[in-house]
Symmetry: C2
Subunit: 166 residues, 2 copies
């Protein structure tokens, strides 16, 4: 199997976690990660545009082959869920515009895959992500949404073969 | 006041109603309307891309100045609402990419504006839209989502001055 580059996305309105992860023969390397934030002072439509444009710049710069994105999580408030769904739609549209194959995982699937059980805490996930990728955890304390994006990409890295992806 | 070109959008996943309406000194003229449909055989992400691309082609062809889009309607099923929210996000992103000023109206606001009361039926709205624009109703029987998009654009046409838009 040749190297595959995965774009991981944790769709959020206030904070959009994004990462680029290379996977080759079961070995994963983190290439890039960030948390796209937009100003609360701006209108919803301005924030949607800016977040989308930043995401597209990342896609153009790193040319990933596949995208792994979190499924919509129904337990949030309706308004939050609707905002998240709208930014998620933009993310999906842009990845499809750039011809990335798409996989989706639910929060429990991601936790199970990365930390061994579907009810793992954010700290458990963060700890395991750092361990798998040999990241310096002290540097990553504030990067929750980045960590989530990396966990989503790692989940796809370990599931893509089972799904029959080449 | 010079002529303003309004893009009306009724965001839907199976059917996306779109229209282009010119408004000048209280007189509205329908320039274009359509219902963008995508195949149920395709994946969600493919449908999102195709609907978005079709919408962008309409924006490029007609160069509207403003967009009027329906607010998310909460009484639908969660799954439907989430699908609608995602395609709505794509629509907003694309209109912002092309620098259209955006206004949003709820279904009751649209019904009130076009048909005189917030609880108007689809038929009432359709009848009034045809009357206002002098459309041949016999030709428009199957175009429910187009009619909704036109009603959304008409609502903005009659509200934009009150909102202080020039």
């Amino acid at each position: 199997m040749s190297s595959v580059r995965i774009l991981g996305i944790d769709p959020g309105y206030d904070r959009l976690g994004v990462c680029v992860l290379d996977t080759e023969q079961g070995k994963e390397t983190l290439v890039f990660s960030t948390c796209i934030t937009t100003s609360k002072k701006e209108s919803f439509e301005e924030r949607l545009l800016k977040a989308g444009d930043e995401l597209e710049n990342i896609i153009k710069e790193y040319s990933p082959n596949e995208v792994s994105i979190e499924k919509i999580f129904f337990t949030r408030s309706k308004t939050t869920a609707m905002h998240v769904a709208q930014i998620r739609g933009v993310c999906i549209y842009l990845t499809q515009k750039h011809k990335l194959l798409m996989a989706e995982y639910s929060p429990p699937e991601i936790k199970l895959s990365v930390a061994g059980h579907g009810g793992a805490s954010k700290d458990d996930v963060s700890f395991m992500v750092s361990r798998i990728l040999k990241l310096d955890q002290t540097k990553n304390k504030t990067l929750d949404d980045e960590m989530d994006a990396i966990a989503i990409a790692l989940t796809h890295s370990s599931h893509r073969k089972m799904k029959g992806w080449k």
